[in-house]
Amino acid sequence: MNPGRIGAVVIQIVFVVGAAPLLAGLIRQVRARLEGRVGPPIVQPWRDLRKLWRKERIAPEHTSWVFLTAPLVLVASSVVIAMIVPLVTVALPLDEVGDLFAVVSLLLLGTVFLALAGLDPGTAFGGMGASREMTVAALAEPTLLLAVTALAARAGSTNLAAIVNAALDRPSVVLSAQGVFALVALGIVTLAECARLPVDNPSTHLELTMIHEAMVLEYAGPDLALVELAASMRLLLFGALLANLFAPWGIATGTGVVEMLAGTVVLGMKLVLLGAFLGVFEVFVAKLRLFRVPELLAVSFVVALVAVTASAFLGGGR
């Protein structure tokens, strides 16, 4: 294995871990500015993590190993995803592993562990959050698979790097009606999976509606820091996947130092744009009532299914 390819993996991991809290900070900052507040600086999430990290590690009474393992599994699965999906460059050593189904199952692994950890302390909120999270996940994951399959059908492979390559070669793979549908479906799934508005409000602890916050209510100190870091990493991974699947231009195709540096900068710019857009979007939408969330996800499922149907029946890659 040549050093350039290993370097690519290292760059991707460092980028995802380093930039994820900044992306969360950026979204908060944009929101705050639009609402007429000064808002916390963009590096605030990093400061929060540092503060949490220095605290004592503590677990509620009667919790099992699941509670302490879940944050690690969550972060580890995100790091593995960062290693295998094309973010900075498409020429990754773990290319064959970077399959759509592998990525989705890794995502689901983290989700399931977090839900189990929510149940573990036996509190009412934890169980509630876990049950809601699983409801959302059960509807969002099939949509995620379907939406990317619509692109995969046109690219001729479920390998994410292959899809990005095909989109670079033939822009018609993504610049089509099917591509637009897949984008809409994937956008809604991203909001649901990353617990953003209108599915979940990341900035409140309102017991009637919270999903993610309810599950992690019992976490404190370094464990909470890991959970928060993993949550922001997931947001960044989803955002980067959206950006690279639907606007792959600028991603490095080789492993040259300059090329990868340019790829990193372009990815950073795409994410800044996406984060700013998300911040603006969140100012204008209200949270959906909980029982309407499955309906929203059903809409995204139908849209994804339309995309796949159109791709399958109307000849791919034309």
């Binding site: 610049l175 009606a177 059903a298 139908v302 299914l305 109307l314």
Partner: protein
């Protein structure tokens, strides 16, 4: 570029039909109808520009005036006077309706595959989309209990038929197209009068009330 824009316009029309099934706010549903009308007009415009046909351009202009302008305006007036701004009781729950819409879409694409295969072209690829709109809209028509949403369902259905007519005929007859449009306008106006009569009589747009006797 032409085929992609055409596909996009058709796609927007289909997504509008699905969204109409999801939304409950009457005003939002009327807006969705207008967006779908715009997509149909865009299809007509694209066809006209691509084939250099003046008749298609006139049809596009007519569709724009009627389906984006007049009908949504008439309907939003009905909504403004309606006692209840939301369709609170669809007879089939929304999630089930959306899954049914997904199934109907697949059926439409499957059933019209042969038609597309007869003469594959960017235009004929919109035939399944039109059929899907017809089926989804018809389902919406059945699933709703509100007079106004039923009316919108009927109009969505008509949009689907118009889309198929636009892309399936080699040269659309202007007279036929205008005749259909005029019929449609008349139907909407009659139904508008009907809904306002209903409102003044029953104080609601719920069609279930029509089954009960009253004096």
């Amino acid at each position: 570029m032409y085929s992609q824009l055409l596909g996009l316009a058709g796609g927007v029309a289909l997504v509008a039909a699905v969204l109409a099934l999801w939304r409950r706010s009457l005003l939002a549903i009327v807006r969705i109808l207008a967006v779908q009308g715009l997509a149909i007009a865009a299809v007509a415009l694209l066809l006209g520009v691509h084939h250099h046909e003046v008749a298609e351009l006139i049809v596009a202009a007519g569709v724009l005036v009627l389906k984006v302008g007049v009908i949504p305006m008439v309907l939003s007036r009905v909504v403004r006077d309606a006692p209840n701004q939301r369709d609170t009781q669809p007879s089939i729950n929304t999630a089930t309706a959306l899954v049914a819409a997904a199934v109907l879409t697949v059926i439409a694409f499957g059933a019209t595959r042969r038609l597309v295969d007869l003469a594959p072209s960017p235009e004929s690829e919109l035939i399944p989309v039109g059929f899907a709109i017809v089926l989804v809209a018809f389902f919406g028509l059945v699933a709703r209990r509100n007079a106004l949403t039923q009316l919108v369902g009927f109009l969505l259905l008509e949009n689907g038929i118009a889309l198929v007519a636009l892309v399936a005929t080699a040269r659309v007859s202007l007279v036929v197209e205008l005749g259909a449009a005029l019929d449609l306008l008349l139907a909407v106006l009659v139904l508008q009068v009907l809904t306002s009569r209903m409102r003044s009589k029953f104080g609601a747009l719920d069609l279930d009330r029509l089954t009960e006797l009253s004096d």
